[in-house]
């Protein structure tokens, strides 16, 4: 219950941040999207053992955080969600490449250690950049911009619907969990033997709701094409900012 509530709170907190008003918030979604994509490509493109080359890239998240007023604590909490997957991948490098490249005093530094650190730093930087994009741009503006960039509309609609219904799914799971707890003799969590039924019910409810949503969409003229408002052309300041940032990253 506590986990679901905190998931809901954390989901809402990013949205609240996106409603802020700062120099970074006021940049057009297109400029922010371009900056983020170029940044991620540049960060990823460095060889796996060049750690020092990544250091200047830390400037972007720090600057963006300062300009947008995004709390570092909130950002670190979100990065921690992605951390287990990255750490698992990075640690496997330690085992695969144990050959010492050089010694730091008595400590051997293997190629695996360097690539492990490289993966961790790259992941940290890229996830920070994406989170800063999401926490300073509304989902509506972001999907409209993706359509403008000719990303398939069906993908953008899926993104919009997923985003909209995460909260409904969390609420439903929370209600089911509360009902379960009230009849489970104060046991903590969901018993493994009940987990199948619980998840199955959640899936069936989601499926039913998806059918009803589709009916509601058809009732309002949806014929498989997702229409959005055309975005205004990019302003000079947005082009300059995106261009300047891209030049810096290159």
């Amino acid at each position: 219950m506590a986990d679901l509530s905190s998931a809901m709170r954390s989901f809402c907190s990013l949205e609240q941040l996106a409603e802020g008003d700062s120099a970074f918030h006021r940049l057009s979604p297109g400029a922010k999207l371009t900056i983020t994509v170029v940044y991620a490509v540049c960060v990823i493109s460095f060889p796996s053992r060049s750690l020092s080359a990544l250091v200047p890239f830390a400037a972007y998240p720090i600057l963006a955080m300062a300009l947008s007023g995004t709390p570092w604590k909130t950002l670190l909490q979100r990065i921690a969600v992605a951390a287990p997957f990255v750490v698992f991948t990075a640690l496997s490098n330690l085992l695969l490449d144990r050959r010492a490249l050089y010694f730091l005093g008595p400590i051997p530094v293997s190629g695996g250690l360097l690539s492990c650190l490289s993966i961790l730093i790259k992941a940290f930087l890229c996830v920070s950049a994406v989170l800063l994009l999401v926490s300073t741009t509304s989902m509506t503006a972001l999907t409209a911009q993706l359509i403008e960039l000719h990303v398939p509309k069906i993908f953008c609609l899926q993104l919009t619907l997923t985003y909209r219904y995460i909260s409904v799914l969390i609420q439903q799971a929370q209600q089911m969990y509360t009902a379960y707890q009230l009849r489970s003799c104060s046991r903590r969590g969901i018993q493994m033997r009940d987990m199948g039924c619980f998840l199955g019910q959640l899936l069936l409810r989601s499926y039913d709701q998806a059918s009803r949503i589709y009916c509601a969409m058809k009732c309002r003229g949806y014929d498989g094409t997702y229409h959005v408002r055309n975005q205004p052309p990019a302003a000079a300041k947005d082009i300059l900012t995106a261009g300047g940032a891209a030049a810096f990253f290159f």
Binding site: Y163, R164, Y165, Q209, K218, C219, R229
Partner: protein, 232 residues
């Protein structure tokens, strides 16, 4: 305005029983009609069949001069607006304005006109402050009015409302009734909430296990309810 003749609907075309059997009624311009009936009587099925979501096994549905068939579903759905029982099924865009704009954009209404229509509707329903709010942060009553705005913005001539008072407290239900009373459109309201429709609607239909049992004016309602054993 709406004419339904001998309408029958089956969920499985190859099998009986029918969810609706030989239902006939009509609704005049500006008339507000309540559709009453027990759970599973076929009220929601009737609403969905009026807009072609559930195809008719037999019978006809005519809206103004247009007879419902597969070729004219977009025109029919522009003339008939459906407000679903659960607003979460209907409000699928992130913000209220985005959701309101969804229908008109599908019909190619210019962007400036969509904004103008949305502002008018939000103002008429008294929810202008919600225009840019995130949908999942609205209360039940606000969601209901936002869903209604999303349908009214398409300027339908007939509104179908499925259990409009579910999820609403007494005050929100009163506010909704007031909004509906001020509308010029014809309305067909399915409900269990007699209090809500008693003074709001001009005519009452009673559906029982897929069949239309009675169709009466407001002044005759008390007598029919007494026959069903529902008198106060």
């Amino acid at each position: 305005m709406l004419s339904v003749q001998h309408l029958s609907v089956k969920y499985n075309p190859a099998k009986e029983p029918r969810a609706l059997r030989d239902v006939s009624f009509s609704i005049q311009d500006g008339e507000r009609v309540a559709l009453l009936g027990a759970n599973g009587a076929g009220k929601s099925t009737l609403l969905l069949s009026l807009v072609g979501i559930l195809p008719a096994a037999e019978g006809t549905v005519q809206v103004d001069e247009l007879q419902l068939d597969r070729t004219n579903l977009p025109q029919i759905r522009q003339k008939i607006g459906v407000v679903f029982q659960n607003p979460d099924d209907q409000l699928f865009m992130p913000t209220v304005f985005q959701d309101i704009a969804f229908g008109p954009r599908n019909y190619g209404v210019p962007e400036a006109e969509i904004t103008q229509r949305a502002d008018e509707i939000l103002d008429a329903l008294g929810i202008s402050a919600l225009k840019n709010r995130m949908v999942h942060k609205l209360s039940g009553g606000e969601k209901r009015l936002a869903a209604l705005a999303g349908v009214l913005v398409m300027r339908p001539s007939l509104l179908l409302l499925d259990e409009p008072t579910s999820f609403l407290d007494l005050n929100a239900a009163k506010r909704l009734a007031e909004c509906l009373r001020n509308l010029k459109q014809s309305c067909l309201i399915t409900t269990h909430d007699l209090l809500f429709v008693k003074d709001l609607c001009d005519r009452f239909l009673f559906l029982d296990r897929g069949e239309l049992r009675w169709n009466c004016q407001r002044q005759e309602l008390a007598g029919y309810l007494a026959d069903e054993g529902w008198e106060n």
